[in-house]
């Protein structure tokens, strides 16, 4: 079978976790370690948004599919102070509050590490029974009977458990999974359970919103930025299969792909290739969110007297299947790669990721309707001095177009507007890396509004201190031209030969009897 694989469905979810900003975001935990009395720590609480404000935040409404990215073109910047009437129910997935997210952490915990206070647990369970998680999964919370705040305090104080707060009160704790092994410490277990839980949530919404049976899924690729394992195999994995188990994907196995922010693009190329090769019929690519990055730019946000906008744990799931003749196709034969020898200048980088793959199939920059590089929400990055990351990428692509003679210098701004978009994704590392656009791209490609898009993932490998290199990978997605009919051709001589051989075999069998 030589058909391209397709984007069959997407799921995007957010968990609004204001207390985790204070207690799990590394900007805050490091500050507490260094200067517990700092002005920043004294002021940060007054900059935390309410759940309602986070739900009604326009970039969050776009993330879950209730509004289109184009809305940001019409909105006056900044966006955080604009009133908007949103919903926690999204077309691509929901936004959930922190208490339900803690319940989900316990549902995802199979080693009895998560403890929740009894009354809190009962209230959360009642909410979760009515949610997508359902009664059976929510019944996991029954195990909290008898757990008091005193029990939790003791776990935190005596056994190095990680505290879970809700509205400023201690409501839970995550125990360490080993007394000595730092890879199984309460801190690491919390981060890993957060990644697993947000991945599970996105998978469940993707299945529900696209009417996909869990049993249909054969393989899962996780591409988050965490590592799970113990002291003898620190990054052994496997988030993918762990999430698949909780999501009820009984016929699936899976594996983890890592590559910092570029990992989702790598994972989608892998999934598309596995499906096209016929190895699996349906593969989910998923990535859960990162609690360490909560409030990452908080110091600048507080200094500029704006709310802490990095208060959401994001997740996504993308289903890639065999060609259905309708869904957009993934051109896994048109892939841009930043190789070891590519070089590090922006010109080299974008040549390898954008123009080289296009030129390989005779296309120019203008033949791609939309580019989806890093789609970080600039409401978050601009006040922090990191600028508008998406716009910077578009300007560099356009500049390369000018250099290549494909674009006139005076058309750079028009190119950026026509072929780009404003970013809306939370700064959760791998989450903004092109993939938040897949849901809208799928819709617009299927509606014939656009014909071709390019996803560009970039990863900061140097953060791992094993190489100074960074990484990048890109690929095209196009509207589906329909399944090519396979023309059966028959050769009369071959057929005669087959029949003759069969008759000969039959005759020999009769004679031998």
């Amino acid at each position: 079978m030589n058909q391209y694989s397709v984007i069959k469905g997407v799921g995007y979810t957010l968990a609004i976790t204001p207390d985790m900003v204070l207690h799990n975001g590394t900007t805050q935990t490091v500050e507490r370690e260094r200067n517990n009395e700092s002005e920043y720590l004294k002021n940060i609480t007054s900059h935390i948004r309410s759940y309602e404000d986070a739900v009604n935040y326009i970039p969050n409404q776009i993330y879950i599919g209730n509004e289109k990215p184009e809305l940001l073109d019409e909105m006056e910047f900044p966006w955080y102070d604009k009133k908007f009437d949103g919903s926690e129910k999204g077309k691509f997935g929901d936004i959930i509050p922190e208490d339900e997210f803690y319940g989900l952490l316990q549902i995802c915990d199979v080693f009895e590490l998560v403890k929740l206070e009894e009354k809190f647990s009962c209230e959360v369970k009642a909410k979760m029974e009515k949610s997508i998680l359902g009664e059976e999964r929510a019944s996991v919370l029954d195990k909290n009977g008898g757990t008091s705040v005193e029990n939790l305090e003791e776990l935190v104080k005596e056994e190095a458990a990680a505290p879970l707060y809700f509205e400023g009160k201690l409501v839970g704790a995550i125990k360490r999974a080993h007394e000595i092994d730092v890879n199984l410490s309460a801190h690491v277990m919390t981060e890993n359970l957060v990644a697993k839980a947000s991945s599970v949530l996105s998978i469940l919404y993707m299945l529900k919103n696209n009417s996909i049976e869990p049993a249909e899924i054969e393989y899962v690729i996780d591409c988050c930025e965490e590592a799970c394992g113990d002291m003898n195999q620190r990054g052994g994995g496997n988030f993918a299969k762990a999430a698949a188990e909780t999501a009820g994907l009984k016929n699936a196995t899976g594996s983890d792909t890592r590559g910092f922010c570029a990992a989702p693009a790598h994972a989608i190329v892998q999934a598309a290739s596995l499906v096209r090769a016929g190895t699996y019929k349906s593969v989910i690519v998923t990535g859960g969110g990162c609690s360490a990055k909560l409030g990452m730019n908080g110091k600048d946000h507080v200094k500029k007297n704006i709310p802490i906008l990095e208060d959401a744990i994001a997740g996504f799931a993308v289903l890639i299947t065999e060609n259905d003749g309708v869904s957009p196709i993934i051109r896994n034969d048109v892939v841009g790669r930043h190789t070891v020898g590519t070089g590090s200048s922006p010109q080299d980088v974008l040549t390898s990721l954008v123009t080289s793959p296009l030129e390989s199939v005779g296309l120019t920059l203008k033949d791609v309707d939309k580019y989806a590089p890093e789609l970080q929400n600039s409401d978050i990055t601009k006040p922090a001095g990191a600028g508008d990351v998406a716009a910077a990428n578009y300007k560099m692509i356009a500049a390369l177009g000018v250099k290549k003679g494909q674009l006139d210098r005076k058309d750079i701004n028009d190119f950026v507007i026509q072929h780009g978009m404003k970013g809306w994704a939370p700064t959760q590392g791998h989450i903004p890396s092109g993939v938040p656009y897949l849901g809208f791209a799928r819709e617009d490609l299927m509606a014939g509004k656009i014909k071709r898009i390019m996803i560009i993932g970039k990863g900061s490998l140097f953060l791992g201190r094993l190489t100074n290199l960074f990484d990048g990978i890109s690929f095209l997605i196009e509207s589906n031209p329909g399944i090519e009919e396979k023309k059966e051709t028959y050769n009369e001589t071959e057929i005669k030969e087959i029949i003759a051989n069969a008759m000969l075999k039959l005759a020999n069998e009769i004679l031998s009897e």
Binding site: S344, V389, A392, N393, L463, F470
Partner: protein, 43 residues
């Protein structure tokens, strides 16, 4: 005489802008002595 002759350079590059390695090349070719160079990810 090159533009940065006799100067020492501390370089902080940006993953989504100009990486440290690329600035390093430019600074060296302009005569600077690179005493520190790093690329950072600001997102």
């Amino acid at each position: 005489m090159a533009l940065l002759d006799g100067k020492k350079a501390i370089i902080i590059g940006d993953r989504d802008g100009i990486p440290g390695i690329a600035i390093e090349e430019c600074a060296r070719s302009a005569g600077a002595e690179v005493v520190f160079s790093s690329t950072e990810c600001f997102v």
